[in-house]
């Protein structure tokens, strides 16, 4: 078995519990005297709530509490990471299919369910908007009351915000060819296998919340403000989420259970059904118009991007998704002039939120597809046009941002090689290649504490949520590397805001870089203490002692740090405590409020063939290459890259919400919302990484785990185009959609037959 140092692939910390069933997710935790909560929802999207009658529900044996807006403070408390637009319960009207109007707490799940069925809600269905066109229509009903956005000139429309970026003179740019088209990205949902779960328990001091949440400290702040308790009296316990992918970043129903627990004076638990998670989180859908100018040699001379993203009824973090996703919309290329307009548009649909890729997969689908259309018109292939435009290390390809931080050409070339770009193609096959970048975090704050205990074992306190990416494993490896302690003697503690110091959030592939560096910083703090300890033991001037990677170097010998510690602590024992912190401050003048800590760059190359009869796309080979700087744990890098690639196949080939004309989600749940299974994999998948140790994280690491999702759709569509000659600009490429495109091609080729 591999060792546990940086660059090795030790077994996952927490892996044992994951294969024995001992791992406790929120739903596995039970508290004495707990009540079960069920939500009361309406079978439509937008409705005026006329009255709520709880008397029948309260008559159900076991029902203890029916929470309605009348039981909450006036005015209704609201929350949200960007806009305080989300009420604890729908007030006045529901905004989307699944928006709860009341909630029932009962002694058993059965009683809560029965109680929820018996809450009588009189309501009147109202006109609503579910599409970009509908939301922008002049007579469209407003999703949010303008009073929620005082002073906002857009408050009278469904446009929540408009983001404008640009450089160069687009209108003056010359081009031999201009290609303009629109591209559609569907509504898709996270479908974490663990449905969201929340528990709230009051105690004599305050409140404890258990949540499958990515950002426990942010949640702590939200709850503290809502229930008016000091942070020190709100404890958030965040067991490892069973998959999150961005969908568990921000508060959802934690505020509701908090108010219910305080009212009931007992612990309450709410475990969502999978259907309810479909009504809780999704990715922004988008319609993106791209207009690109090309010189005849393939060089891009300008690009305009107009990206309309459709948000749900409450903004959550999804306007930030729009801004941050669209800003690097030109990808990892030198584009001399560009104009980007991105709009966040509200609708009466499931609230959208962060989702792996954070707005970049949508715009990358559009821009990479548009680039391929240009290449075809110019007689260039997909690899050639990318080689011609890709940014070199140090290029200020995003004028206000971090220069290109990698040798990106290597990634492009390697993906092309892995897919066999230059090999002859079998009949009916096609190849496609796509590049993508995503910005790392623009701000951040991570604290870490590393406790070097008396026996030479180590406790690392790091507030990152380990939601499958394996954060604790990597952190343990960093501590092992720096302190010279084997993994078996290191424990990483996370998920408890009363114990573990502050971490801003687990998102944007930041944790290996920001928290990794904070742990490194804490270890360096220990190094300093150990240096003095070693010097003191030998009666030396500390300047004559140096410490690095597990050892103290004295003038005459090297001593393992564990030995330095044991000798230095002496008979009284105790421990050394190292503290580390990493801050990435906001930059108020930057369009995004901060430059990218790093770029996640991926290149995906696909060989595909299409069943011309049915339209089914078969992926013959899927090569994905990511520039990760340094793989701290190569096995974990591979599983995340391949996992992201397969997740990308979902929105590329099969995933999409289907709403009816009244805004009811018709494919609610696992039967008619399809995600990839073990039988939907490419016939062959290869993943590789580029490592130049040029990232800002520990040992040259960059963040990773989202990149491999960015390029799947454009690479697949390009392969389908080459295989069949049809260009498809709407996702997903379901068999039906591909067949429809093939039919259109057949009709246009065949002369009209008059019979």
């Amino acid at each position: 078995m591999n060792g546990g140092r940086v660059g090795d692939s030790p077994r996952r910390v927490g892996g044992h519990g994951r294969v024995t069933g001992a791992q406790q997710y929120v739903a596995d935790i039970h508290l004495p005297d707990e009540l079960h909560v069920e939500l009361v929802t309406l079978d439509c999207a937008r409705a005026r709530i006329v009255s709520i009658d709880a008397s029948d529900a309260l008559a159900v044996p076991g029902v203890q509490l029916v929470m309605t807006p009348d039981d909450l403070p006036e005015p209704m408390p609201r929350f949200g990471p960007q806009f305080r637009d989300r009420p604890i319960l729908a007030v006045g009207e529901t905004k989307f299919h699944g928006d709860p109007v009341a909630a029932v707490a009962a002694e058993t799940k059965d009683a809560a369910e029965e109680g929820a069925r018996r809450v009588r809600v009189d309501y009147e269905e109202l006109p609503a908007v579910f599409t970009i066109g509908g939301a922008l229509a002049p007579d469209a009903p407003l999703v949010q009351d303008p009073s929620l956005r005082p002073g906002d000139p857009l408050a009278g429309s469904n446009v929540l915000r408009e983001h404008r970026y640009g450089w160069g003179d687009v209108d003056a740019a010359e081009a031999d060819l201009v290609v303009e088209n629109s591209y559609v990205f569907p509504m898709v949902t996270h479908f974490a296998i663990e449905p969201h779960a929340f528990i709230a328990a009051p105690d004599e001091e305050g409140l404890t919340i258990w949540s499958s949440i990515q950002h426990p400290y942010w949640l702590q702040r939200v709850i503290a403000e809502l229930v008016e308790l000091p942070l020190a009296r709100v404890r958030v316990v965040a067991p490892d989420p069973g998959g999150a992918f961005g969908g568990k970043q921000h508060a959802k129903y934690e505020p509701l259970v908090a108010f219910m627990a305080l009212r009931a004076g007992r612990p309450v638990r709410l475990v969502l059904s999978l259907e309810q998670t479909f009504q809780a989180v999704r990715r922004n859908s988008a319609e993106i118009r791209v207009r690109t100018g090309f010189r005849s040699d393939g060089a891009v001379t300008f690009r305009e991007i107009h990206a309309d993203y459709l948000l749900g009824a409450y903004a959550d973090i999804s306007d930030r998704v729009v801004g941050k996703g669209a800003y690097p919309g030109n990808g990892p290329y030198r584009v001399p002039a560009s104009r980007i307009v991105a709009r966040s548009i509200l609708s009466h649909t499931t609230p959208s939120t962060a989702f792996r890729g954070f707005g970049a997969p949508q715009v990358n689908w559009a821009v990479e597809s548009n680039l391929d259309e240009g290449a075809r018109a110019l007689g260039l292939d997909g690899l050639e046009i990318r080689r011609r435009n890709i940014a070199a290390r140090g290029d200020r390809f995003l004028p206000y941002d971090t220069p290109a931080d990698g040798d990106w050409q290597q990634t492009l070339d390697r993906a092309a090689e892995l897919v066999g770009w230059d090999r002859p193609l079998p009949d009916g096959h096609g190849r496609g290649i796509a590049l993508g970048i995503k910005l790392g975090p623009t701000t951040g704050l991570s604290h870490a504490t590393v406790r070097f205990l008396g026996d030479g074992s180590v406790l690392v306190l790091a507030g990152t949520s380990d939601m499958g990416q394996g954060a604790r494993t990597v952190f343990a490896q960093v501590a092992s590397e720096e302190l010279g302690v084997p993994l078996g003697r290191i424990t990483v503690v996370s998920g408890d805001t009363h114990i573990v110091p502050y971490d801003q959030q687990t998102s944007a592939s930041r944790s290996s870089v920001l928290m990794g560096n904070a742990i490194l910083d804490a270890c360096r703090d220990l190094h300093e203490q150990l240096r003095e300890m070693a010097a003191r033991a030998d009666g030396l001037d500390p300047a004559r002692v140096s410490v690095e990677r597990g050892v103290a170097r004295l003038p005459d010998r090297e001593v393992p740090l564990v030995e330095v510690l044991k000798v230095g602590l002496g008979k009284l024992g105790g421990e050394l405590i190292g503290n580390g912190v990493v801050r990435k401050e906001a930059e108020p003048d930057h369009p995004l409020g901060g430059t990218a800590a790093f770029y996640e760059l991926n290149c995906t190359a696909i060989e595909a063939t299409v069943d011309e009869g049915t339209g089914e796309v078969v992926l013959v080979r899927h090569a994905t290459v990511s520039d990760v700087g340094k793989a701290l744990n190569p096995m974990q890098v591979r599983m995340q890259d391949e996992g992201a690639a397969i997740m990308g196949l979902g929105h590329t080939l099969m995933e999409h919400y289907i709403y009816d004309e009244n805004g009811r989600l018709r494919n609610l749940g696992a039967i008619d919302y399809r995600i990839p299974t073990s039988k939907d994999l490419p016939l062959e998948m290869v993943s590789e990484i580029v490592e130049n140790e040029d990232g800002p994280g520990p040992y040259g690491a960059k963040g990773m785990s989202e990149g491999a999702l960015l390029c799947v759709a454009p690479a697949v569509a390009a392969a389908v185009q080459q295989a069949t000659g049809v260009t498809i600009r709407d996702l997903p490429l379901t068999p039906q959609r591909v067949w429809e495109a093939l039919e259109e091609r057949r009709r246009s080729r065949e002369p009209e037959v008059v019979s």
Binding site: D110, E113, E114, G613, T614, L653, M654, I658, R666, N667, I671, D672, R674, P676, T677, S678, K679, D680, T734, P735, Q736, W739, E740, E743
Partner: protein, 287 residues
């Protein structure tokens, strides 16, 4: 899920009496893979659930009797798939049984349950139709057999009468070789409900049968005795004309989230041609 009265009859008579007494308020439980979903979302809301698994006569079993292969009501898809006699005589039924849900589903779901649920998209219906299966029903008036083509009405509705249950499904063991193939259309390669089900069978005599589903309230069966469909050397035009007549009655729902009517109708034709070609090839290669 709301509670109900759970009963475990230990004989057919006892089960029939319960079903006769409660009529539509009773639901039969065999594998449960459809029923439990219905109970949970309350599309099925019985007062009484009658579990058939305590009735020895219905326990899993596949046996040949008087030229018929009888599959008892308790037999699961996995058991059908593993049965040598089914594999020898009715491989297209195995092709269908093997794509019902996942392994986990197939270990519980029964053939009898699949046809009693009577989904228009039921995978096993088209092969049962082309093979000329019959349903053995037991009820208050005793035992009767129903040709499978007279069994389906629409989703969740069959020609079973009050008090009747399916005791077995029987398939006639062919004297002459039959070439048959089952195909389906899905949205992904992994487990999925079919948007089209299609089974073709051809005999040496030239008789060809086509059965398909998911394009109307119930699966449909058509027979061609002209010999054209079974003849690999028949002209495309002649074959297409017959296929067109067989496929004309298809009326796919415009409300489905799984596929548009246009796509379904087109795929019906693609799958019919492919299934027929496979059936012909198997007849040639298999005999």
């Amino acid at each position: 899920m709301r509670s109900f009265d759970y009963r475990r009859p230990t004989s057919l008579q006892e089960a029939v009496a319960l079903l006769a007494e409660h009529g539509p308020a009773a639901q039969v439980l065999a594998g449960g893979t459809d029923l439990v979903i219905g109970l949970r979302d309350r599309t099925v809301d019985p007062d009484v659930v009658v579990d058939l698994k305590w009735i020895p006569d219905l326990w899993p079993g596949i046996a040949e009797r008087d030229g018929w292969l009888a599959i008892s009501a308790g037999t699961t898809m996995s058991q059908i798939s593993a049965d040598p006699a089914v594999r020898r005589h009715f491989p297209a039924l195995i092709e269908a049984a093997d794509v019902v849900g996942s392994v986990q589903i197939r270990n519980r779901a029964t053939l009898a349950g699949n046809i009693c649920n009577a989904s228009p998209a039921a995978d096993t219906a088209p092969p049962l139709l082309v093979f000329g299966a019959r349903v053995v029903a037991v009820g208050p008036d005793g035992r009767r057999t129903i040709p499978i083509d007279e069994f389906f009405v629409r989703s969740r509705v069959t020609t079973l009468q009050r008090g009747e249950l399916v005791a077995a499904v029987e398939l006639p063991v062919p004297g002459e070789p039959i070439g048959a193939a089952y195909l389906r259309l899905t949205r992904r390669r992994g487990t999925d409900l079919a948007s089209i089900t299609m089974c073709a069978a051809v005999e040496r005599s030239g008789v060809a049968r086509l059965a398909y589903g998911s394009v109307g309230p119930r699966p449909l069966l058509f027979t061609d005795e002209s010999g054209v469909l079974a003849d690999p050397s028949a002209s495309d035009g002649a074959r297409e004309a017959i296929l067109e007549r067989m496929l004309e009655p298809a009326r796919p729902s415009p409300r489905s989230v799984r596929a548009s009517p246009e796509y379904r109708l087109a795929m019906l034709r693609v799958l019919a041609r492919r299934a027929l070609a496979a059936a012909i090839q198997r007849l040639g290669g298999g005999a």
